[in-house]
């Protein structure tokens, strides 16, 4: 059985967030660098940022009262096969 604190689950999430944030900055940087600062690009960028902020806010709302110190248990043992009289097949 493996036991670890729940806050360790935040690490992969943080890595995903950092990766996405870097890619988003590059995308928006491309739009600015290549002069694509039009109304349409503004609307799409705004929708993207607003959507991302909403996702993060809802995630925060849903998880703000979680006790991140509580242990998570993962069982690796395979349940053993049943033994005893019921385990043997009846003889025909």
């Amino acid at each position: 059985m493996i036991t670890f604190p729940l806050y360790l689950a935040l690490v992969p999430c943080a890595l995903v967030l950092i990766g996405v944030a870097v890619m988003a900055l590059i995308s928006i940087g491309h739009l600015l660098h290549y002069g694509a600062t039009t109304f349409l690009s503004f609307i799409i960028t705004f929708a993207y940022l607003a959507g991302s902020a909403t996702i993060l806010f809802i995630t925060y709302q849903q998880t703000k009262e979680v006790d991140w110190q509580q242990p998570v248990e993962i069982r690796l043992d395979i349940p053993s096969l049943p033994t005893g009289p019921m385990a043997t097949p009846p003889k025909i």
Binding site: S27, L56, V66
Partner: protein, 181 residues
Amino acid sequence: MMDTTHILRTGFGERIIFVLRRHPIVFLVEAVVILFLASVPFVGYFAIMQLMPALLVGPVSRPLLTLAASAYLIVVWHFLIEKFVDYYLDMWIVTTGKVLNIEQHGLFSRTVSELDLTTVQDVTSEIKGLIPTILNYGYVYIQTAGKEERFIFEQVPHPDKVRARLLELVEKDKKELMAGR
């Protein structure tokens, strides 16, 4: 209108005739697919609610599911801006003297190529399929002299009009060249 001064070197008296991009429906279809993918966690939520409701109230399972759904949504949502950059930065600029082909491949690859109108030999337009026929968008192939390579305007609106206008410009450009521009 997009600022193209940093990519386009216009000669004396040269002016931009049109700036082309793929038809907006191309991006719209991708956006719909992204929205469809974004709905997966919500469908999953209702499925779990029906099949294993205990998972949605468990002190460990609930935050884990929330984090997984959130990470998935943020990645899928990111595809929206990435697809938009790919769509919006792909463009073809036609001036009175040349054609510029700018293609963005993902976030880290960009190709800019230029073609003089006097080298154009043949221009072909093609509309293929039901939706392109209804919405009138398709391909314009520009064949140049002495080269196997072709310039392709992909999924641009009104390809027939673009071809006709391009041929006019080519003819005019060649006449000006013959007259010793």
